[in-house]
Symmetry: D2
Subunit: 254 residues, 4 copies
């Protein structure tokens, strides 16, 4: 029998890949998409299969014309109906002043974090609406909630995405599609994003210092919350929640 599909856009070795593995363990076929690093992708897919789950991996450049639309069509036809989509693409480019942010970077942030979500919904929601059910979980960040001195591109893209999620929810919630927006408010133990930004040494140090007292957000636990969201009864849906480490101050406390 065909398993339901959990499509992950932005499946690195942090939240994306871990959520994919969690859904595979729970009976979904995980379709993992990421822009680059084919070896990393194979490792993720291989790990899921070894654990007895089903997974397929694709390289996908979300800013390319038709890349998202074609992949969704292909997955629906060849693998199975997409019941859950994890939208995990970000627009983080590190801290940059206004003058150090190029027009191209600003546009790229929007293409990744906002426009790609619009395209995903436009391609997928009609199919989900016809089936009367489906779930989109968008991984967001503090940048969706407030501006920041050196995050012009990132905050604009993430806030646009948040409001788009509200608009999608308003139109498609009553048609049975659950849109959820998860504000990841703090540093994640994610080698493919935070690790790359900090560099290997600083990331290892951070993990040792903060991780051992659970001061970094652990993707495995984020995955449990995503699982919970995706399986809430439709009488009781959550649109938005935040997650952070117990030892971190929320964004509103700086």
């Amino acid at each position: 029998m065909t398993k339901p599909v959990c499509l992950v856009l932005g499946a690195g070795a942090g939240i994306g890949g871990t959520v994919g593995a969690r859904f595979a363990a729970g009976g979904y076929h995980a379709v993992l998409c990421r822009r680059s690093n084919e070896d990393g992708l194979k490792t993720l897919v291989g790990g899921i299969r070894e654990a007895g789950g089903e997974a397929t991996g694709f390289l996908l450049n979300a800013v390319e014309d038709d890349a998202i639309e074609d992949r969704i069509a292909h997955v629906e036809k060849e693998i199975g109906p997409i019941e859950v989509v994890i939208f995990n693409l970000g627009a983080q480019i590190g801290d940059r002043t206004l003058q150090d942010t190029t027009l191209k970077q600003f546009e790229r942030g929007w293409r990744m974090a906002t426009f790609a979500l619009f395209r995903t919904a436009k391609a997928l929601f009609p199919l989900m609406a016809e089936r009367g059910s489906g779930t989109l979980i968008a991984t967001a960040s503090t940048a969706a909630m407030r501006g920041n001195p050196a995050q012009h591109a990132h905050t604009a893209a993430m806030a646009g995405r948040r409001m788009l999620c509200q608009s999608l929810n308003a139109e498609y919630g009553p048609q049975g599609i659950h849109v959820a927006h998860v504000v990841v408010d703090g540093m994640v133990d994610a080698p493919d994003t935070v690790g790359l930004i900090l560099g290997e040494d600083r990331f290892r140090q951070l993990r040792e210092e903060r991780g051992q007292q659970d001061g970094l957000i652990l993707p495995a636990h984020v995955a449990e919350t995503y699982w919970h969201l995706a399986h809430q009864h439709r009488s009781t849906w959550t649109f938005e929640l935040d997650v952070r480490s117990f030892s971190d101050a929320p964004w509103w406390n700086g």
Copy 2:
């Protein structure tokens, strides 16, 4: 062995009692407190015991001096350490214009919804902090998020409570206490609150019309989300989430 205690303040036949039953089913001793209706309380406690769980019920008037403090001290001494407290007291008095809201009603709303939470935290958090862990989940409502023409007392009390929860989280999160604020944004299938406000006939009608398509928030499913919150790993805590029926507009869409 002593079971951990889940203390429910405001345990009626809606969210409060149902969450208590869920935690009892999961291995907690449910301590159910409510202001009145001893028969209703006995029914709840009896139902939990018949299902093989542990429960104790107390009548408790939360606006009385020392009532909360004494009950907490008693439970900790006689039943076991309170690991989870569900703060489910509300201040809903139905729609009333400013002139129809008396000083007494306004004060009572604050005593129930804001002050009682402050007193609960003051009595319980030092004990939880000493143990290095504990969870408080506050049931909130749309009134915590925006004002409304005929909800002067209710919105003031619920918004004060929300901010108090933020302040409690800021001080006690790093000490291992998880404070979570759940915005119940819509009508709940709750005979003891919504049912009483609407009257028996209108409530039955509402249940038939909206409930059969899951248009009312069902307490059993809210309880699953509370359970999830109370068991999030401390690297990944949620402070706030909203719940509503798929067919309802969120508060920000009116």
Copy 3:
């Protein structure tokens, strides 16, 4: 001819008194009320009169039964119709942990910052509604917008007040009463509040360091914004605005 009255509740040598003076300069009779320091009150009233304005001062303990209600009735009868009320009472008691905040302090904060506003509106709004116009400007603070580790009483009271203002606006806006909520998000050059909390020496130092580059919020300029708010055309009313020094980070940036 009778001048319109601008009633200031909480008229110290900071925002309250300065706003009163601004409105007196603009043609109002300023009625200044404060809890204590009769000398300070006389100085404020005297200053306004010397500048050619009209002012009257009263000591008023806002937590006393009937004190607000009686004062409003008296002013309306003896001085003139209250067209503008500046609600400037706060609940700041300095930083205190939960355990160092007494039940009494928590209640007092609510009585000053939330309940007194409710009582003011209840006594005054029917009169304003009958006249078809009136303005209430509430001086708020960062505490109305987010919780803080050592501000349990203050944040609960200010957030309750904010939501009450939204509820009042919802009922009375269409009846011609303009409710405005001003979030004073930063340190004010106010000897009677900030000065008392910091102590004379630290306050003088702060003034020298930050004030000379406009790093403290200057009451005279706040007063201009209050004046603007109170005279907006009813086609274009502001409910909420924030103010801070150019050199200060907003609350959402910590």
Copy 4:
């Protein structure tokens, strides 16, 4: 002597043109830019000149490469230093479902409402920062604050813009540039935008019904609030305020 320049991007016969006229009356040289309708532009410029003010008009297509940047450079060189910029470009395309919103429309909304603001700031803020002062006022709308069923493109663009304004403020506030975000929360008496969307007949009817009781937001009064914002002392700057008619419900009350 050279007058300071007030540059208006999006200068139609509503808020944009009216604000330009207000600043011209107050001593600025108003530079009015709009995409089309050269006759309308001439009427606005002519009106300002007849009233004794200074104004220049330009057609400007904000989505074209370099159009904004070149215009700013030209104005700074030929007319005078831009002290105030009114960013009044919107992304409203009327109500459209997700499936009726094309990729092109979604992108265009972002280019107008978000990207053009980024480009404006990037071109202008270094000049303002060198002078140590300047003001940017962005005209926003309800769409910046919450999603809506048929406003996918509009809400995403306006929310991205809002967060960009917060980021700009965080970096450039301390350098003396005042960024203000005005949430115009309701129908404006604006023939060039609301009038075009509604059509002539419905707009005339609306004006008669609601305008005569001040139920439409009147641009002349919005202009007074913009003027106030642009002249706040730097000790007391407002980042955000909302405006609506007294008879309208705020967005949070639906």
